[in-house]
């Protein structure tokens, strides 16, 4: 079985419209699982304004695709679709979306869990806090200017 895999990086928060509903029925799957990571307003008790995400392209996309294919085969799911932000994602924005299409709930849930756990350990993606009281700490700003992935430098509305 060849699973359908797509991977994309996007500057800034992910849009609502990219949930690819059209792929739903064509794959005939019984279970569609969408996981979204939403930027929280606090980290370690301190107020956040945003998170700044960094990638290292083309390695990041390649590793995400490799992971998606690996998880699809291991769990026998029909489709794995990955979207991840680079650059600044304000609090409340969606920075990550994973869509799993499978025949049954169990394998879709297992694939979702496995993908995210491994992504957080192995895929070249980083986040830095942009604090609400940002004068005191400009780590994220100074750092995002230093990546060689041009997309992380784009301001996002």
């Amino acid at each position: 079985m060849n699973a359908q895999v797509t991977v994309s990086l996007h500057s800034g928060p992910l849009s609502l419209s990219s949930q690819q509903p059209s792929q739903r029925s064509s794959l005939g799957g019984g279970a569609r699982l969408v996981f979204e990571g939403v930027v929280r307003g606090q980290e370690a008790g301190r107020e956040l304004r945003a998170l700044a995400y960094q990638a290292y392209e083309p390695m990041t996309t390649r590793e995400l695709r490799r992971l998606a294919e690996e998880v699809a085969i291991e769990h026998g799911v029909l489709g794995v679709h990955v979207e991840h932000s680079v650059g600044t994602v304000p609090v409340g924005g969606v920075s990550f979306r994973l869509i799993i299409l499978g025949k049954h709930r169990a394998e879709a849930i297992a694939a979702c869990d496995a993908f995210i756990a491994r992504m957080k350990q192995h895929v070249p993606l980083w986040k830095l806090p942009v604090w609400a009281d940002a004068d005191a700490d400009s780590d994220a700003d100074s750092d995002s200017a230093s990546t060689d992935d041009g997309r992380t430098d784009q301001p996002v509305g």
């Binding site: 990571g37 995400y53 960094q54 290292y56 083309p58 390695m59 390649r62 991840h84 920075s95 990550f96 995210i116 992504m119 957080k120 350990q121 192995h122 895929v123 070249p124 993606l125 980083w126 986040k127 830095l128 780590d139 994220a140 100074s142 750092d143 230093s146 990546t147 060689d148």
Partner: protein, 81 residues
């Protein structure tokens, strides 16, 4: 030889730089490189245990040899999602 190592995310913040030069013996392995980074850039030392080295955008196993001109990146403290 001198190897330029790209840094990202929290490790770039720790080092205060997005790239660092490291002096190593010729034909170093990733293990040699991590050891030299630890000595020459102590701010990164604590984070290197969970870090891997990418050579030309591929994770390198610890016995591979780094050649002059290779693009070297430190992949550690990742946090996608």
């Amino acid at each position: 030889m001198t190897v330029r190592v790209l840094l990202f995310g929290p490790q770039a913040a720790l080092a205060g730089a997005s790239a660092l030069d490291v002096t190593v013996a010729d034909a170093p392995t990733p293990t040699d490189l991590l050891a030299a980074l630890s000595t020459q850039h102590p701010s990164l030392a604590d984070s290197l245990g969970a870090s891997r080295v990418a050579v030309n955008h591929e994770f390198a196993d610890s016995a591979s040899v780094i050649e002059p001109g290779d693009e070297i990146a430190l992949i550690g403290m990742v946090s996608g999602g």
